[in-house]
Each structure stands twice: as structure tokens, then as C-alpha cells.
């Protein structure tokens, strides 16, 4: 997982001997099993979605391409749904779509959050007051419900990409708040003061001195945002406010609810999305807990 490696590079502070560095990395990762297990689970999910199309005919993720309502068998290991989708193909197609929603929202949220957090934290004054005020007001508003309004208004034309952007619209406040408070404490550190005194220009200070020290935080809040975004998108989709023709995991849940899969005893229809969603959230949860330990060394002792 290269996210973890980037964080690691910052942490180890790069002594020139790469053998030593590798050893330290290894030692550190052994002390942080959460991050390792979470990353391995996530890699497994990525492998499933990238290698899956080589073994499974992804055309069968569309309706009426398989015999409807058949229990898992050798031909259809995950069974088929009411409209004749092969649920194994749906898993292969749907998992990356759901990941895509989360990644789009996570990247947008972190970008906006970083820009606002850096600006507010570093400049201070009325800019800080304004940005913090907006974040605080928006944080009291229940995200899912506002997203329902947005999604209901554009329901007919939602694609996976717009879904990501819709979710991102209310995902940047928390990163902005945490990054701001981190920048506030970084700003007062001695080396930043030294850089200022030695005549370094503001952009240079931000990118050469503050950003590298912010990376562990960015990584932790990125994983957190992705997880929150996927949670929100699956919630919207389960209510019927998702991409109507794309078999994301949330839409599969939605269809299984609308067609009363459980009441009709079609257990395999819900097992596939539920299992994938549980693995996905556990891996994101473990990764963000692990990254949090790197970003906040104080947590390491509290949890041991």
C-alpha cells in the first residue's frame, strides 16, 4: 500500500542507508498490525476488482443476461437476481464503481479541506474565523438528509461520477477542521519560526516545511473521508437515489430491498453486497485506525 509507504518515509526521516530504513519500516509495521491487516484486506479487494474481469464475463452484470433467481451453483457461484444479473459479475463490476465513488469524494474532500485548512490555520485572523464558522455551521447540518435533497433533485441524471461529487459536497468540513488545527500547532514550532526568520517565502514554507509534516494527517483523514463518503453513497443508493443503471454495491442493496429479496428467501442476493461492504468498511476502519496511530503518537500508548 503506497499510502502507508509515503507515511512511512515521512516518519523514518530518511537516513541515507536504505537497508536500515527498510528494517525500521518493517519493525514499525510489525508494531502496527491494524494498518497492515487493513491494507492487506484493501489490496485483496483491489485485486478482486482488477483481476475479476479476466475470469468473469462482466456483460452478465446487466439485467437479463442470466437465468433469473437461481441459488448459487457451479455456473453462478453467487447466484443470480430477479432481473437476471449474475451476482458474481455484479460484484466484479460493482465493487470498483463503489470504490470510485469513495475515491472521487475522498480526493475532492481532501483537496478542498487541505486548501481551506492550510489557509485558515496559516493566515489566521478573519480568514480563519470565516472558514471555521462556515465549517462549524455545515457540520451541524445532517449530511445524509441534505444529500437526499440534492440527489432527489438530480435523480434522473446521476452517474457514478456525479454521485462522488454530490457526496464530496458535504465531506470536506471535517478534514478542513482537523487540518486547520494541525497547521495551527505546526505554525508555532521552532523550525517554522527559523524558516520565517531566515527569509523563506510563505509558499515555500507551506510546501517545504509544513506539507511534509502534515502528510500523516492527510493520509489518515483521506482514508476517513473515503470511508465516510462510501457510507453516505451506499445510504443514498439504498434509498433509491443512486445511478439507476450502474450495479454499485449500494444499488444492489436497493434492488434487493425493492424486490423483497429477504422476504422471498433469496438470501444470496443480499449476501454478496453485505459481505463485500463489511470487508470494505473493516479494511478502511483498520487502515484509518492504524494511520491515526502514526499521526497521533499519543494514541499508541492509550490503546496498547
Amino acid at each position: 500500500m503506497d499510502l502507508a509507504m509515503q507515511v512511512e518515509e515521512q516518519l523514518v526521516n530518511a537516513p541515507p542507508d536504505s537497508g536500515l530504513r527498510r528494517r525500521t519500516t518493517w519493525k514499525y509495521l510489525r508494531r502496527n498490525p491494524k494498518l497492515v491487516v487493513g491494507a492487506l484486506m484493501f489490496l485483496g479487494l483491489l485485486a478482486f476488482s482488477f483481476l475479476g474481469p479476466l475470469f468473469v464475463n462482466t456483460d452478465e452484470a446487466a439485467p437479463m443476461s442470466a437465468m433469473p433467481v437461481t441459488a448459487p451453483s457451479r455456473e453462478y457461484p453467487f447466484g443470480t437476481d430477479d432481473q437476471g444479473r449474475n451476482l458474481l459479475a455484479v460484484a466484479v463490476v460493482g465493487l470498483p464503481l463503489t470504490l470510485q465513488v469513495g475515491l472521487i469524494a475522498g480526493v475532492v474532500a481532501i483537496l478542498i479541506g487541505t486548501i481551506l485548512g492550510l489557509t485558515a490555520g496559516y493566515l489566521g485572523g478573519w480568514v480563519d474565523l470565516l472558514i471555521r464558522g462556515i465549517c462549524d455551521i455545515l457540520l451541524t447540518v445532517p449530511g445524509l438528509v441534505v444529500l437526499i435533497t440534492v440527489a432527489a433533485s438530480i435523480k434522473g441524471s446521476i452517474s457514478v461520477q456525479t454521485m462522488g461529487l454530490v457526496v464530496a459536497a458535504l465531506a470536506w468540513m471535517w478534514p478542513a477542521r482537523t487540518i486547520r488545527s494541525q497547521v495551527l500547532s505546526l505554525r508555532e514550532r521552532a523550525y517554522i519560526q527559523m524558516a520565517k526568520l531566515s527569509g523563506m517565502r510563505t509558499p515555500e514554507i507551506i510546501f517545504r516545511e509544513i506539507m511534509p509534516n502534515l502528510l500523516p494527517f492527510l493520509a489518515a483523514s483521506f482514508v476517513g473521508s473515503v470511508s465516510a463518503a462510501i457510507l453516505a453513497s451506499i445510504g443514498l443508493e439504498a434509498l433509491g437515489l443512486g445511478p439507476q443503471s450502474e450495479p454499485t454495491l449500494g444499488m444492489t442493496i436497493y434492488w434487493s430491498i425493492t424486490y423483497n429479496a429477504v422476504i422471498r428467501g433469496l438470501w444470496w442476493w443480499i449476501v454478496m453486497p453485505i459481505a463485500l461492504i463489511i470487508i470494505l468498511f473493516l479494511s478502511l476502519f483498520l487502515m484509518s485506525a492504524g494511520l491515526d496511530e502514526i499521526a497521533n503518537p499519543r494514541l499508541r500508548k492509550a490503546d496498547a
Binding site: 435533497t149 432527489a152 429477504v262
Partner: protein
């Protein structure tokens, strides 16, 4: 607590509510498509209605809903209506007002969610405190991992599993609904029992999913209090273990939990929308779900506004009461 803080806080409440109303007004108007026209066309395709005269009908309806007036006037009218909780009529159940339908659904949701929130708070807090307590049996720690797993996944997935196992396969509980189909809501023992029977599975799925986060919260606070001087003093006095646990450790660790409880009671309306959908429970969630299915916009926006209003109200109350409860906070 000074007056300036109170005024500022109440001001913020109105800003949030006004913002929610404004969002409800402008978002549908920014969206492509004309709801009146699309609604009429949908009705025509359903009933095989004549195509001629549609434009006149669109005009007539737009005049009826005030859509032919300039935007600022529509906006002011809208704010005025919202101030009176007038969200317009339901499109699918036409003579019914959106507000009446929401009011009919609210007691179900509030009842279910208040009970489950308090139960999961109580169970989670006691469990988490016991796990953090050094002298409690080690077996308790085995509860933590499954509880955390349940907290990490969306709660409605658990609901789907519970329906399949306990209602479909074992037939211990009814499959769906809030009460036996065909009976009329009334105040009788039979009916109350029926309602309880129908709400056990939805309640269980909400409680199981929520316990973990309550347990984690209190556990962290218990670890902090265990290092305090008064704990050492209580032990030195030779007090009974039980007394130290409940009177000294738990009591001092409770405050953040109580705040969180108050805040989550503010979320009772929106807390479990999708669980209601899974169980076709007759609350706000199912109302919203059906409104989304039938593009019943006035209900969607009405529900959204009511949810934001209740949450803003709860946050306001907590923020105003908190300084009174905890004298250490000076605002």
C-alpha cells in the same frame, strides 16, 4: 453564561434553519426539468390520457402553485409557508397535505428511535465501563471486537441479516410493518403488544449497531479518570470496589457520554431511515422512501426540513444547557 452567547447561539439556530429552507427552495429550481410538466407527462403515460391541452394544464398548475410569479416573490411566499410548516400537498396522495403525512409518521419514528437510543446508550456505557475497569472479568473484552465490527458497518445491513434469520427462517418475529396488517391503530393491550412485537427486530438492529461506539467512548473516558488523584484517594480510604466503580470512576466519566446522548436524541428523526425501509416500518424513513419512488417532491423536502429543524433544535438545547451542567465550561 452571558447573554451575548445565548443570543449568538440562537442566531446560529435561525441561520441553519433558514439555510435549510433556502436550500430546499433553490435546489429543485436549479435542477434540469420541470416537475409540473414531468408529473403531468408521467400521469398521461400511466392513464393513456389525451395529449392535447397539456400546455394549458401546465400553465394552470404553474399559476396554482405560484410558479408564474418572479423568483423573489416565490421565495418570500415559500419562506412564509415554511414558517407555518406548510409544505404543500402530497402529489401521490393528493388531497393529503405533506405535513399531515409527516405528522402521522413521526410518532412511529420518534418512539422507536428514542427507546433504542436510550437502551443502546445504557447497555453500551455499562459494557464499556466494565471493560475498562481493571477488576472486571476478562471475558468482557471478547465483546469489544464484535461490537466494534458492528459499529463499523452500515446498520441497515445488520437489519437485512436479522430479518432473514429471525423473521424469514426462524419465524420468531413478523417480517415487516409496524403492526398486523388489517388492524386499526388503537389504545388496547392487544394492539400495543402487536406494535412491540413488530418493533423488536428493527430495535435490535439499531441497538446492536450503536452499542460499540458508546462502549468505546466511555472506555476512553474511564482510562482517563482512572489516573486521577481522587481515585487513588478513594482506594486509600478503603472504599468498596463497587462504590469506587459507580460513584467515582463511572460518574466522572459520564459527562461526555451524556452530551453525546443528548445530541443523538436530536437525531431520532433521521437516525434509522433505512432500517425503517428494510422493515416497511410506518415511520418517516418509509414515507421518505416511498416519496422518492414516486417523485413526491413536497414530501421529500418537508421531511428534510423537519429533520434539520429537530437536529438544529437539539444542538441548540445542548449548547445552552451544557454550561449549566458543567461549571468548568465558561462561555
Amino acid at each position: 453564561m452571558n447573554l451575548k452567547y445565548v443570543v449568538q447561539r440562537i442566531g446560529l439556530f435561525f441561520v441553519v434553519v433558514w439555510g435549510a429552507a433556502t436550500l430546499n427552495f433553490f435546489l429543485p429550481r436549479l435542477a434540469p426539468g420541470d416537475p409540473v410538466r414531468s408529473r403531468l407527462f408521467a400521469m398521461m403515460t400511466q392513464t393513456g390520457f389525451q395529449q392535447s391541452g397539456v400546455e394549458e394544464m401546465v400553465k394552470a398548475y404553474q399559476a396554482k402553485f405560484g410558479l408564474d410569479k418572479p423568483l423573489w416573490q416565490q421565495y418570500l411566499n415559500y419562506l412564509w409557508d415554511t414558517l407555518h410548516f406548510d409544505f404543500g400537498y402530497s402529489l401521490s396522495f393528493f388531497p393529503n397535505r405533506a405535513l399531515d403525512l409527516i405528522m402521522r409518521a413521526l410518532p412511529w419514528t420518534i418512539g422507536l428511535l428514542t427507546v433504542t437510543t436510550i437502551l443502546s446508550f445504557a447497555i453500551g456505557t455499562i459494557l464499556g465501563a466494565l471493560i475498562a475497569w481493571p477488576r472486571s472479568p476478562k471475558i468482557l473484552e471478547w465483546f469489544l471486537a464484535p461490537m466494534l465490527t458492528l459499529a463499523a458497518i452500515p446498520y441497515y445491513l445488520l437489519a437485512l441479516i436479522l430479518v432473514y434469520v429471525f423473521a424469514f427462517t426462524l419465524k420468531w418475529f413478523p417480517l415487516s410493518g409496524g403492526y398486523q396488517a388489517g388492524t386499526l391503530p388503537q389504545w388496547s393491550w392487544g394492539f400495543v403488544w402487536d406494535v412491540i412485537e413488530h418493533s423488536i427486530l428493527p430495535a435490535l438492529s439499531i441497538i446492536l449497531a450503536a452499542i460499540g461506539s458508546w462502549a468505546i467512548g466511555i472506555r476512553a473516558m474511564m482510562v482517563t479518570t482512572s489516573g486521577e488523584d481522587y481515585m487513588t484517594f478513594a482506594e486509600a480510604r478503603g472504599l468498596k470496589d463497587k462504590t469506587i466503580f459507580s460513584r467515582y470512576a463511572l460518574r466522572n466519566a459520564m459527562l461526555p457520554q451524556v452530551t453525546a446522548l443528548a445530541l443523538s436524541l436530536g437525531h431520532v428523526v433521521s437516525g434509522a431511515l433505512i432500517v425503517e425501509v428494510v422493515f416497511t416500518y410506518p415511520g418517516v424513513g418509509s414515507l421518505l422512501y416511498n416519496a422518492i419512488q414516486t417523485a413526491d417532491y413536497f414530501i421529500i423536502y418537508g421531511v428534510v426540513f423537519m429533520v434539520i429543524l429537530t437536529i438544529a433544535l437539539a444542538t441548540l438545547v445542548v449548547d445552552l444547557l451544557y454550561p449549566l451542567l458543567d461549571p468548568r465550561i465558561r462561555v
